[in-house]
Symmetry: C2
């Protein structure tokens, strides 16, 4: 029997608040520090590991986390979720993105359809289409192969797929699975679509229109933009466009598209990278086998996330450390710092995933909560970030918890030896150095050169950023965010906070405004 | 006579802490709101305006700001800075980036050279080189024109120039001043350089190596990477590379470069976009006239920043509002939200500019300060952000101050009418709507759909993102950051916080490690 209750009603939470943070300067010094690095690590899928040695936690804290996990019934809540309970209570929807990559529990049937079967079928159809595009069986009117795929979508239909594409683009090129270039159009700013259209050959481009509802204004506007371009080039748009949408949307059965692939209301936009939303563009770009490997990595990681033992469940453990940092230690932000240029837009995806899911101040029953929920997430790849905002992370007046990601090998085959080390070795040396610098600091009589230390971080380490590793990484953060939502007793799967802006923007466009809204409309000449 | 003193020793600060924040829901409602939009606006250069109607301030707060500005001698400190006083006390350097775009005060002479003259001379030489490259007078060994410029640099040698390039790329294409494509290599991750090299034609590429000291490890490593690629293509690297560096650097008088252009220790990396660091790549990409217009916009805005009246000095006013939010209201972050796809990387540049400058916890004399200093800066362009992290901004448990940027016209000529409005009108309607939604909120009995409001924002509005407008925008934020550093009595011009990581990374590469550092090195297989 599951009880949904606020965090501050849990007795384990009161205990958590009393847990003293580890003094990292002390704990990470000498051989004790080395011991922590070896001990505080949890294996993940695809050969990754979640290492939290440099977090301000010890066995005592872990005990408190375990109690909280038990009292808040985290594993049970996840079980209910993947077995099809209506967890998105606000919108009265199940939450089924895990089924796009595997079956974690019992079959989930909705509208008479087995949902795992449904998602797998969509994936199969996408693979079929992708193979036909790659073979030239589906081609443009002149019978020529498509060479570019352009995704048209915004939010979850853009950030996740874009980050995943960039993460695997060079890997695919080196591993001879690269099929076609992908581009993305998202912003309603007309310069976004115009700029992308200026740099592609529309005659050889296939467009993937992604909108669950089929009514997202930005996306429909950009579709129109693209259709105009196709028509101006004497082309028939319906031979160049496919749709990813829900079966009930106006796009679903339209002749305007070569094909339509389906998702449904049980897949939130920000959790849709493993559905057709990511599947179509990634299968076209890299081939369906690569996308399948990406799903396998996610599925394997999902299984770990079911574990009731927090020491065998990296997502749950990461979530609890984050809650401790947010609610007991009072930190407001988390920086995501991947030491891999391929993950350049991964932080932007996590920013949506986390902040849109857990940036809430009412619980799942609509009652205000009296504790902080989701933090601000930001980040850039290392080593670039080191030459940018790390100054504040090291010596600023606030402590910002850090989440590093690093790989032993790079993706491409080229490297160079300068001063007796390769670039890849330098990259890895930098992330190792940063973790220790943040944790241990360094005393200096010149206070300007003094490093306080005591700044917590974790690192996810892997061998190489492969499709499986990327899938595991994505799953880890999705499940971490889900677990934090369970702890905070909020609904991580709706986004009512985006509605008011939409309503007011419509009023502005209809010139139905007064007061400040009219004044701003005048200021902007609308 | 200037007195450098801590903020909390100022009597005006004690008064500031007592200023009650305006209730935005009330103040921005009805005609009073419209009146605020018309009243709380300060003209900027290039036709921009800084509108702070939706900030939690009123005439009383403005009075307190003015007193603080006076007591902290903000205008006098800026005057001292541009007249050549050693403001970067930690490194014992003057701070002269303003001289790269104009002469605000008395001539500044260093090492027997008039610095304004020196920077202008570099700009002239860069223009000369750029014109020769464009005309084909400087060409590759086969006598063919260069078609691509690749900047090799990191931190301030990357983020600012890259953001500026992206900001003007499409504008230049539409206005027929686009000369050549620019690309950027920054990360020590070898996949960064390899990926860029895979997509360019090195035989027709000219590389700009940017390193003030000539010793930045990432940059020298990437230079080597590029030189290997040139040699492998049978090309002579010295015919493809120019350097931007200081006169005393090892790169300055080397035969390895077609030409070298100089900056000096008085230009901090994050303030160097208007020096040769931005000048070479932008002049090559868009022509020297466009770069000159960008400088004019910055110079015009700099002049406004000298004003002693905060109501005529947008940078100082913006800085003081930020201090009020940070120190009196306790907000830890600021989001930068440009409604222009061209400004997609402008927030990443501001992240460095602000966080590296003001992420300090000791004052300019090396004594710890007991108040918060620089905030975390993050952001993405609208409307994309609306479909990502705005949920938290609207309904999260923390208040995040917002800095919008918007333009009445887009840069390119294409647009589309859908549902009776253009995309540009939709873009502008959205930013207007968001400001009001954040400020006023909307009560709903369903607490999940309830918007508290009271979330402060400002907007910089302009007609179009032209070179002048971009220069003004850049100058505004540079001067804002400088003024906040003055208020907090910190040195905004050094970055000692980046040193420890460098030292430890060297140890790792030399295998001179023990304890946790060795354990992390093992974990990463270094």
């Amino acid at each position: 029997m599951i009880t949904w209750k606020n965090l501050d009603t849990a007795s384990a939470y009161q205990e958590l608040l009393k847990v003293a943070p580890v003094d990292l300067k002390e704990a990470m010094a000498g051989e004790g520090g080395a011991e922590r690095v070896r001990k505080y690590s949890v294996p993940m899928a695809a050969g990754l590991a979640f290492n939290y040695a440099a977090k301000q936690v010890d066995d005592k804290a872990l005990e408190a986390f375990a109690k909280l996990a038990e009292e808040m019934q985290l594993a049970e809540k996840f079980e209910a979720l993947y077995n099809g309970e209506v967890i998105n209570t606000g919108e009265k929807r199940m939450v089924l993105h895990h089924l796009t990559r595997g079956q974690l529990g019992e079959p989930v049937v909705a509208d008479g359809v087995d949902k795992r079967g449904f998602y797998a079928e969509q994936q199969r159809k996408i693979a079929e289409l992708a193979n036909k595009v790659h073979s030239g069986e589906i081609a443009n009117a002149a019978g020529e192969k498509f060479t570019t795929v352009v995704q048209i979508g915004i939010g979850g239909s853009d950030l996740g797929p874009r980050a995943m594409y960039l993460a695997l683009e060079n890997w695919a090129k080196v591993n001879d699975t690269f099929k076609m270039e992908a581009r993305f159009i998202s912003n309603v700013d007309p310069d976004d679509a115009a700029a992308v259209l200026n740099t592609i050959d529309v005659a050889h481009s296939i467009f993937v229109l992604v909108s669950k509802s089929g009514t997202t204004l930005e996306t429909l506007t950009n579709e129109s933009f693209v259709k105009d371009a196709l028509k101006n080039a004497g082309l028939d748009p319906s031979r160049h466009m496919i749709a990813v949408t829900s079966e009930t949307s106006p796009l679903a059965k339209s002749d305007d598209y070569l094909a339509a692939f389906f998702m449904d209301d049980y897949i939130g936009g920000r959790f849709s990278s493993t559905s057709g939303v990511g599947g179509a563009v990634l299968s076209l770009a890299f081939g369906p086998e690569v996308f399948a490997r990406f799903l396998e990595g996610a599925a394997e990681e999902d299984k770990l996330a079911c574990n009731r033992d927090i020491l065998k469940n990296p997502a749950m453990l990461d979530a609890l450390i984050g809650v401790y940092e947010r609610n007991a230690l009072g930190y407001q932000n988390t920086a995501v710092l991947p030491y891999s240029q391929a993950l350049s837009r991964f932080p932007a995806h996590l920013q949506q995933l986390d902040m849109e899911s857990n940036g809430k101040s009412v619980n799942r029953f609509g009652e205000p909560v009296s504790y902080p929920t989701g933090p601000v997430i930001f980040g850039e790849p290392g080593t670039n970030g080191q030459h940018s905002f790390y100054q504040l992370l090291h010596q600023g007046t606030d402590i910002i918890p850090l989440q590093f990601v690093g790989f032993r090998k790079n993706q491409m085959e080229r490297d160079v030896v300068i001063q007796d080390s390769t670039s890849q070795q330098k990259l890895c040396a930098n992330v190792a150095a940063q973790i220790v610098a943040f944790a241990c600091g360094k005393a200096d009589e010149n206070r300007n050169k003094n490093f306080e230390g005591g700044r917590p971080s974790s690192i996810i380490v892997g061998d190489q950023l492969t499709p499986e590793a990327l899938g595991a990484l994505l799953s880890h953060f999705e499940n971490k965010v889900m677990y934090q939502g369970f702890v905070w007793n909020i609904n991580s799967f709706d986004q009512e906070g985006v509605q008011l802006g939409k309503v007011l923007a419509k009023k502005v466009l209809a010139h139905d405004t007064d007061g400040a809204l009219k004044a701003y409309s005048d200021l902007l000449d609308i």
